[in-house]
Every structure is written in C-alpha cells, then in structure tokens.
C-alpha cells in the first residue's frame, strides 16, 4: 500500500514536469516517507532486543565529543552578551542588572538555541554522512540481510542519544556562558563571582530555567530524526552522501528554529 502510493507519486511526478508541481509532490512525498520512517522507528524503539552497547557508544560519540564545541560556543555567547549589554545598561543607569540579564538570557534562550544549532551542525552532518555512506555502499542492506533491524541499531540509538544529550550539553553551554560572562564583566568592572551569581540568580525561578533546558530534548529529537532519515534514504553514490549530510544540517537547523518559536510560546502558556 505504502510502496504503491509512493510509486503513484513518482509516476505522477514523471508525467507532470512543471517545477511547482514537482516541488509540491517532493514536499509531501518527503513528509509521507518521514511518517513511515517514524512508524518503523517506534516499533524498533519499543520491541526487544535493545541495543544498549551501541546506545552508550552514541552517547559518547554524539554527546561527549560535542562538549568542547558547545562549551566554547556558550562561552563566546556569554562574552558577547556581557560586552553588548554592558554599555546599554550603563546608559540607562541599570548596570546592576547585568548579572541577572546575562543569566536570564543565557538560561532562557541563548544557551538552548546555540546548543541546538551547534549540535545540529556537528552531529546532523555526521549522522547524515555516516548513514548515507552506509546506505550507498549497501552496508545497511547487509545489516538487514543479517536479520538486524537498522532502524533499531542505527537510527533509534542515535536519536535517543541526541534526545538525552542535548539538555546536558545545554547545561554545559549555560555554565560556560555565565562563567565567561562574569569573566568579561569583571575585567571591566571587578565583581566577585559569588556576588555575580547571587545577583544573577536572584530573580531566576524554576520556570526560567528548567523548561527552556528540557525543550532542547525536542531539538535533539529533530536532529537525530532528520539526520537519520536523510542518511538512510541517501542514494546516488558520493553525491548522494554529500546531499544527505548537507540536507540533514539545513533541515534540522530550520526545524530547530521553527520548533523554538512554538516551544517558547508553549512554555509561556504552560509555565506562566
């Protein structure tokens, strides 16, 4: 049923060459195929056997190895925020609000979105290229022929690792952002770390901190899902691998930004 629908769509595409029609068909075809991918994936996640060893390997590969990059990006964000806001706050006579502003902007938005986009660049490209190369060299077919479910072994482990690691990486980005924000601030106007932290977290509540951090699990889901999907449907040799890697980054980054808009509003409603 599924394959006949896809075949019909392909046949319709061949007989209707206008570019707009082709674009629309490809657009809906992509979402349709993603739907089938997700249904395979759901079964693979819940049915035994479970690939714990590969999951642990992916936690290290996707999570731990992204830590330096995420920490650096978080630190840079803290430095820039401190530099940019310092002069503005001074001109309004609100210099004492700098720690609070820095902590809030990093914890609520800058930390999560920077982490999402940085990990999307590093991890989505990696997964897209790795699975794409495995697909075009028939390694995924070989896995299936050996009665191993590639949705379970390759996709589910990577997606779950992304979902679990993104909030943890966000915490690291937040920590580095706040720390280097303090370093930058104290270089121009010395302030103790203790005082900076006390001022910074004075008004911060549970709602300011935890929901934005955990929303990055959704970013992780987007990165893992899109990258695995694009990789496992790669075709056409080296060029196909390149397409899979590039599209994995572009689509997941775009979806992260769109999801962020929705999630920010949702968090505002659910955690007023």
């Amino acid at each position: 049923m599924a394959s006949s629908t896809a075949a019909d769509l392909r046949s319709a595409r061949e007989t209707n060459p206008p570019a707009s029609t082709v674009f629309l068909i490809r657009f809906f075809e992509w979402f349709g195929e993603l739907g089938f991918f997700c249904s395979h994936l759901l079964r693979a996640v819940f049915l035994p056997p479970y690939e714990f060893r590969e999951f642990a390997h992916q936690l290290d590969e996707l999570g731990s190895k992204s830590l330096p990059l995420v920490a650096l990006a978080g630190a840079a964000t803290g430095v820039v925020l401190s530099l940019e806001t310092h002069d503005s706050l001074v001109s309004f006579g609100a210099k004492s609000l700098l720690p609070e502003l820095l902590v809030l902007s990093i914890a609520k938005e800058s930390g999560p979105i920077i982490t999402g986009l940085i990990v999307s660049g590093r991890v989505a490209a990696g997964i897209g290229a790795e699975l794409g190369a495995m697909k075009v060299t028939e390694q995924i077919d070989a896995m299936e022929a050996s009665a191993v479910d590639p949705y379970k072994y390759l996709a589910a482990t990577r997606i779950l690792a992304c979902v679990l690691m993104l909030p943890l990486l966000t915490l690291a980005a937040d920590f580095c952002g706040i720390l280097f924000g303090w370093v930058t601030t104290t270089l121009t106007e010395p302030i103790s770390l203790q005082l900076f932290i006390e001022n910074g977290f004075k008004q911060v509540t549970f709602n300011d901190f935890l929901p934005p951090t955990f929303k990055t699990a959704v970013f992780g889901l987007i990165i893992g899902l899109v990258a695995s999907f694009q990789g496992m449907r790669a075709h056409g040799g080296t060029e196909g691998v390149e397409r899979a890697a590039t599209s994995a980054v572009v689509i997941s980054s775009l979806f992260i930004i769109l999801a962020d808009v929705l999630l920010v509003r949702l968090i505002q409603v659910v955690f007023p």
């Binding site: 394959s3 392909r10 046949s11 061949e14 395979h40 079964r43 049915l47 056997p49 190369a133 495995m134 060299t137 028939e138 390694q139 077919d141 070989a142 896995m143 299936e144 022929a145 050996s146 009665a147 191993v148 479910d149 072994y153």
Partner: protein
C-alpha cells in the same frame, strides 16, 4: 523460525513464481519462474541490467516485488512483518557484490556482528565461532584489520564468512568473482565448492563469469529482458541454437 522448518521437507527451499518488478517505467523482472532444490547450486547469468541482482534482493526481502510469489522454505515472504521476515533471513546468507563489509568494524567484528545480534552464544563461544569461520575462508590472520586495509578478494572472503555466520541453509551470491583477478576468482570458486562439500547449502549465484558458473553450479539459468530465456546444465545451454545464448556462451569460450 518454526514456520520455515515445518515445510522444509515438503517444499524446495526457494520457489519463485511469475515474479515482476519495475522501477518507474522500466520493467526489470517480467514474470520470473524459478525453483532451487535442496543442496542445489543455481547460477543466474545474463547481461548487465537484466535484473539478476534485483532477483536476489527480492528473495531476501530487501526489495518488494510488484507481483508474483517468492517462497522460502515454503513460506511466502511478501507482506511478512519485519520480525517474521528476519526469522526467515536467519536461514539465508547473502554475499554482496562489493562485499558491503561494515567499514568502521574490524574483520573479526564484521563476522561477529550477526552473531552478537542473534544471541545464544557466550562471548567465548562467539569468539571461537568467528575464528572458525574466518579460518574456513583463510582469513584467520587478519582479525584486527579494517575492510579498507585488505584486498577485494579478501573482502569477499570476509563477506562469505559473515554470510555463513548464522549457519544458513541458503546462500545468495551477488557477483562473487566480479572485479577479481582470475587467480583470486578461482580461489573464491574453490571456496564455494568447499562450502558445498562441507554443508548441504542451497545456493543461487548471480554472475557474469561463465567459467566460474560452470565450475560451481549444478544448473544454469540465462536471463534476457527480465525473463529466464533458458535453464539447464551447461551442455543444455551449449545445445541451444538461440542466437542470444550462442552469443553469450561464445564470449567466454
């Protein structure tokens, strides 16, 4: 696993009936009928692009047929859920044209991969089994090498060891000697003959290599335009007056 075993005695291991497969407007298989008896080796010959590899991928369920029937040990594979299909796949081994070894795993890990997922063996037993398999194909000294560090012929050997890992009773070979020099190709032929002697494997070999097919096969089938043009022993093919068959056989004679 139980379903295929029930009918094993009654039905031939592989039965293909009026199998059709198209990609877009291109008809690749146009009503293939095929049966392979237990312990028999059938070579499928034909020009490039006639759907020989597609036939193998349909038999192991890597692609879906448009219509027709494929029975493995009497069990129809079309429409099977992934788990049921995997049980049938455990009775089959597949040697890919380019070996399709996992390039980030060592030779030893490649052969161990299906065994680890199938379970039922302790670490020590699995290690022993992997070494036995690699010794069978003459690769026991290259356990720690990556696929990129060994030759094409060696990759085929490792691919064969991996295909044999789950002790299948059916083996599907996709161009086992393609891209190999004549001496290495003969070694692969010898290996296939050795497998046949030591076990009672039922095999389908897709190949362009006529000398290899003559050496290892009980029966040959020649494909043209998505159909089986002729099948029988090499002598039957030689006796044919069909222009295509004569042309195909004379290329190598």
């Amino acid at each position: 696993m139980t379903a295929p075993m029930k009918t094993k005695v009654a039905a031939p291991p592989i039965q293909v009936k009026t199998l059709r497969k198209s990609f877009g407007k291109q008809k690749v298989l146009n009503g293939i009928d095929l049966e392979v008896a237990e312990g028999e080796t059938l070579s499928v010959l034909g020009r490039s692009g006639t759907g020989k590899s597609v036939l193998l991928k349909l038999i192991i369920g890597l692609q879906q047929a448009d219509s027709g029937s494929i029975r493995v040990h009497g069990q129809e594979i079309a429409g099977l859920a992934r788990q049921q299909l995997n049980e049938i796949r455990k009775t089959m081994g597949f040697l890919f044209q380019n070996s399709a070894l996992y390039d980030s795993l060592t030779v030893e890990q490649n052969v161990a991969f299906p065994l680890e997922r199938a379970g039922g063996l302790s670490d020590a037993e699995r290690k022993k089994r992997v070494r036995e398999l690699l010794a069978t194909v003459g690769m026991e000294k290259d356990l720690d090498k990556l696929p990129g560090q060994i030759s094409g012929g060696m990759q085929k050997r490792v691919g064969l060891a991996r295909a044999l890992a789950l002790s299948p009773d059916i083996l599907l070979f996709d161009e086992p000697t393609a891209g190999l020099d004549p001496i290495t190709a003969s070694e692969i032929d010898a290996l296939i003959l050795k497998m046949q002697k030591e076990t009672n494997l039922t095999s389908i070999i897709v190949t362009h290599d006529l000398p290899s097919a003559r050496t290892v096969s009980d029966r040959l089938a020649l494909m043209r335009d998505g159909e089986i043009l002729i099948e029988g022993s090499f002598k039957d093919l030689q006796a044919s007056k069909d222009e295509f068959v004569v042309q195909f056989l004379n290329r190598d004679s």
